[in-house]
Amino acid sequence: MTKQLSVPHLLGIKGMTQEDLELIFETADQFKEVINRPIKKVPSLRDITIVNLFFENSTRTKLSFELAEKRLSADIINFAASSSSVQKGETLIDTVNNILAMKVDMVVMRHPDVGAAKFLSRHVNATIVNAGDGTHEHPTQAILDAYSIREKLGKVKDVKVLIVGDILHSRVALSNIYALNLLGAKVKVCGPPSLIPKNIKSLGVGVEYNLEKALQWADVANILRVQNERMDVKYFPSGREYAQLYGVNMHLLDKIGKEIVIMHPGPINRGVEITSEVADSKKAIILDQVENGVATRMAVLYLLAEQIKPN
């Protein structure tokens, strides 16, 4: 078999192909078996060095990448912007080039600015993996979400996926829409009108403002976090009102009279977008998503590293 990713970096789902995603899934299947072994490590990336550059807070994504890198035997260095020379005014390219001078092969970066990963890929000589750039894309989250749907329902094609909540500020929503479209799923978004981008329909997704109706349609509901930190003005009157109109609770799920799969990328605002009862129920695959996050990130890193030729 001679399959290979069509892209040299993972900057976003946009620009990737359906074959790319399927190759990542097939490879992740094998890594999922690896991380359930007594010894959860393979030597593939033993001569690769990866830097994790986080200019924005993260728990899950950072840990998940770090674990994926370690399970592939890569050497890793971690960098958090808050404790670095960035505070002294160093530019992004200078920071990264200084790190690369220490012979680093891959950069996993999260950055608050849209397009930061793409910008970096043009200016530095390393493989770039976007771990979230502002409100733009979060490709590995979309990959693990689609992988989790495939695992739970056996396929992604023709599955009705509802994305609920703050679509406007969500890089998870945008990457998910791109990925689900590539894989042939049907996508609808639901949330308060103030948090749904105006031209979202041009991405080929449906819009529904009534949560109950939307849930009735869906096979899978991916509930997004309300991103208070990105809201400079009030988009809805209060958390309590949001919870009443757009919060997913057990009462609502019982009322629609069918089983749907509940997903959440984390971190959860319990009692706002989702109640604890739902988040901790059997309907939710939130912790499976976390496990799949490691396997899919191992697949992404492995397939990208394959393209770095040894010197």
Binding site: M1, T2, K3, Q4, L23, E26, T27, D29, Q30, E33, V34, R37, P38, I39, K41, V42, P43, S44, Y302, L303, A305, E306, I308, K309, P310
Partner: protein, 181 residues
């Protein structure tokens, strides 16, 4: 390109029986033995061996598994064409077991080295043996030799040994193909 048949299905049957008799000699009732096929083509040979052990030699309860070595290969990033991983399925701990690794062709020895590293992850076996249908001697790049071998052949570097199976996983033939250069 020329192609030469070096083993037909009749010879294969005789060789397979001989190999199985050799294994039985060393493993008695197989109670402490695990047979491991190396993916993808070693597993076809593994299935043939376990089926024959059950049907013609009345050996019951044979523990077996299949091992994929893609992530353990030493030529990652150094190959012209990337390899795609296959499934691994080993549902027994290998701690203290006698492991018999099975592959179709032994050539440089690098696949076997990768398999030995991969097996580490399932415990410390008492002993690991290697069975291979074809042994391309004089082409080894590592100090690895088979415990049981079907047929030993001498080859040139521009030659390729292909074990052919049909779509029902039945053995067809072993071919030696060579490209002129």
């Amino acid at each position: 390109m020329s192609s030469k048949k070096i083993m037909n299905s009749h010879e294969f049957k005789i060789i397979l029986k001989r190999l199985i008799n050799e294994i039985i000699e060393n493993h008695n009732d197989f109670s402490n033995t695990v047979l491991i096929g190396i993916q993808p083509r070693g597993t076809l040979l593994l299935n043939k061996i376990t089926n024959l052990l059950k049907s013609e030699f009345q050996v019951k309860n044979i523990a077996s598994g299949v091992l994929d070595i893609t992530f353990f290969r030493d030529d990652f990033r150094r190959r012209e064409h990337p390899l795609q991983a296959n499934a691994t399925s080993i549902n027994v701990l290998l701690e203290g077991k006698n492991v018999l690794l099975i592959d179709d062709v032994l050539y440089t020895g690098r696949s076997v080295r990768a398999a030995l590293t991969a097996l580490d992850h399932y415990g410390r076996p008492k002993k690991i043996e290697l069975l291979t249908l074809i042994d391309r001697r004089f082409r080894r790049e590592l100090p690895i030799q088979p415990t049981y071998k079907g047929k030993q052949i001498d080859t040139f570097e521009n030659e390729k040994v292909i074990v052919k199976w049909d779509e029902n996983d039945e053995f067809i033939a072993v071919l030696l193909e060579s490209t002129e250069n």
